[in-house]
């Protein structure tokens, strides 16, 4: 399921990302480039994070799941990820250091739930989560995802 969406092109690594807005732009870029989302979807995610309570996308353990509503420019369901070193502060808040951003664009409720379910299973699994956070390149990260898919 996850390896269907996360590939060498969509699982990214970046050092010294200046801030959370830049991180969102970087993680969303491959989805915009492939035409899965329009510019409006990136703006919707940025607005959502900056809105009161918007840091709820911080799942814990330095992992954030950026997403917005399908009607804000999703063309087809897609997922991307970005590991940043060092962490960046979500909405510039000290309480929300983020090491791994996911960007989820769901074209409809059903595919959204399927992708969320796969991500929840993966990220709630402590060894898999730690292995994913420890990855230094997309080959490492994809190997972890593949293990999850096989289970």
């Amino acid at each position: 399921m996850l390896t269907q969406y996360l590939t060498e092109e969509t699982f990214l690594f970046a050092d010294d990302v200046p801030g959370w807005r830049e991180a969102i732009e970087i993680v969303a870029a491959p989805l915009a480039d492939s035409g899965a989302i329009g510019r409006d979807y990136i703006d919707a995610m940025l607005e959502s994070i900056a809105a009161p309570g918007g840091t709820y996308i911080d799942l814990g353990f330095g992992i954030a799941l950026a997403h917005a509503r399908p009607e804000r420019g999703v063309v087809r369901t897609a997922l991307s990820a970005l590991r940043v070193r060092p962490d960046v502060l979500l909405n510039d808040e000290e309480a929300h250091p983020i090491a791994l951003f996911f960007c989820l664009a769901a074209a409809d409720a059903e595919s959204h739930l399927a992708a969320m379910a796969s991500l929840a299973r993966l990220l709630s699994n402590e060894p898999a989560r730690n292995a994913l956070l420890a990855a230094h390149d997309s080959a490492d990260a994809l190997a972890v995802l593949k293990t999850g898919d096989d289970q």
């Binding site: 309570g53 918007g54 840091t55 709820y56 996308i57 911080d58 799942l59 814990g60 353990f61 992992i63 799941l65 997403h67 509503r69 989820l104 409720a109 959204h112 739930l113 969320m116 379910a117 991500l119 929840a120 299973r121 990220l123 709630s124 402590e126 989560r129």
Partner: protein
């Protein structure tokens, strides 16, 4: 039937993850007879559920919704297991 509700701002993302994880934890704890669902904050009222699980960021907005359980992380199964077991006990279910 006792009802646990996972709630987030949109009802689309994190609440669904918490919903799934609560079901898994209840199974691991061997607790039956609790209905689990998820919803967005705007559609929830104090009589929507016996216990409401939220992330820390909407803890304040959710106060006043009755038995509100605040999670530091929505993907930490150990934390969730403890808090679900406590909530289940409060509502008459024992592990």
């Amino acid at each position: 039937m006792t009802k646990f509700l996972a709630v987030c701002s949109t009802g689309l993302g994190s609440s669904f993850m918490v919903h799934m994880n609560i079901e898994q934890v209840l199974k691991e704890l061997g607790i039956a007879g609790i209905d689990v669902d998820h919803a967005d904050l705007g559609s929830v009222s104090p009589d929507s559920a016996d216990a409401i699980f939220v992330g820390r960021d909407i803890a304040e907005a959710a106060s006043g919704l009755g038995d509100v359980v605040v999670l530091d992380s929505i993907i930490d199964l150990n934390e969730l297991k403890t808090k679900v077991a406590e909530a289940a006990t409060r509502h008459g279910h024992s592990a």
